[in-house]
């Protein structure tokens, strides 16, 4: 039997364990949205969406701000850290490619110089 190390089930992990909440994060990555807009988008009651947003907010993945009667949601600090992580992964991809390209350039240089 495979032994799994006990994962630290922090608020962020729990928040992300729900497909709708992951969808909400993706949606907020595209544009800020009100709770009403999110509820419509995910075919959910306002109360249901408020609960999901509350979980994401507790985890620091989403921040909300109430202006007048509308509560607007946007990505929180934890989610923005994921953006930084994505850019770092993108950099690592290019760094790995270019290190391999270095070898090819070296090889071609050797072939050309007698």
């Amino acid at each position: 039997m495979v032994q799994y190390s006990t994962p630290r089930l922090d608020a962020s992990f729990a928040a992300l364990s729900d497909a709708t909440r992951r969808g909400v994060l993706r949606q907020l990555g595209r544009a800020d949205a009100s709770i009403t807009e999110l509820a419509d988008k995910f075919h959910m009651t306002l109360t249901g969406m408020k609960k999901h947003v509350g979980v994401l907010e507790d985890a620091g993945l989403v921040v909300t701000q109430k202006i007048g009667r509308v509560r607007t949601c946007k990505l929180g600090r934890r989610a923005l850290e994921q953006e930084a992580a994505w850019i770092e992964a993108y950099r690592q991809l290019w760094a790995a490619r270019f290190d391999a390209l270095d070898e090819i350039v070296e090889e071609l240089k050797r072939k050309e110089s007698p």
Binding site: L25, G29, E83, A85, Y90, F98, L101, I104, V105, L108
Partner: protein, 157 residues
């Protein structure tokens, strides 16, 4: 020792990668535009991906099609697009059409320095929303895999 590769989110819709190579411009450009050389460096070994095929018709208006496989993917994954500009040995511009119509346009410029070549690559997305969406889906796609595995574990009891 490897040389530093830098990445900057230069604007709302643009990422810029910069790298210097210790070799003449002519050789660096050749390694980008010769399919047999290109396929030896484009896919990092650490990615676990394999390039199944590589078709490149490198001229302005020409097309390319790269097909990759990965043990975790059910289907091979194609990447394709069109060369908007090919100006040897200083500039390549291509589209990335495998997604929807929200793909980036990639511009690579090659600049000769003393004993070195400076390569600057721009990924320009059609809108801030398109780049944000690429980041959001990339940043959360790992979670989807992770949680699919967790779901399986929980289902298996």
């Amino acid at each position: 020792m490897s040389i530093t590769t830098t990445v900057e989110r230069k604007s709302d819709r643009e990422l810029v990668v910069t790298r210097t190579f210790r070799g003449p411009l002519r050789i660096v450009f050749k390694a980008w535009t010769t399919p047999d050389l290109f396929k030896r460096w484009w896919v990092p070994k650490s990615s676990g991906m394999t390039m199944l095929s590589c078709e490149m018709d490198i001229r302005t208006g020409g097309t390319y099609r790269l097909v990759f496989s990965h043990p975790a993917m059910e289907q091979p994954m194609p990447f394709f697009g069109r060369y908007l500009e090919v100006t040897p040995p200083s500039r390549l511009v291509w589209t990335n059409d495998e997604g929807d119509d929200e793909g980036a346009v990639t511009t690579v410029t090659f600049e000769e320095r003393v004993d070195e070549t400076l390569v600057v690559l721009h990924d320009l997305y059609p809108s801030k929303e398109a780049l944000d969406a690429a980041i959001a889906s990339g940043a959360t796609s790992g979670f989807d895999e992770q949680f699919a595995q967790l779901d399986e574990m929980l289902a298996a009891g």
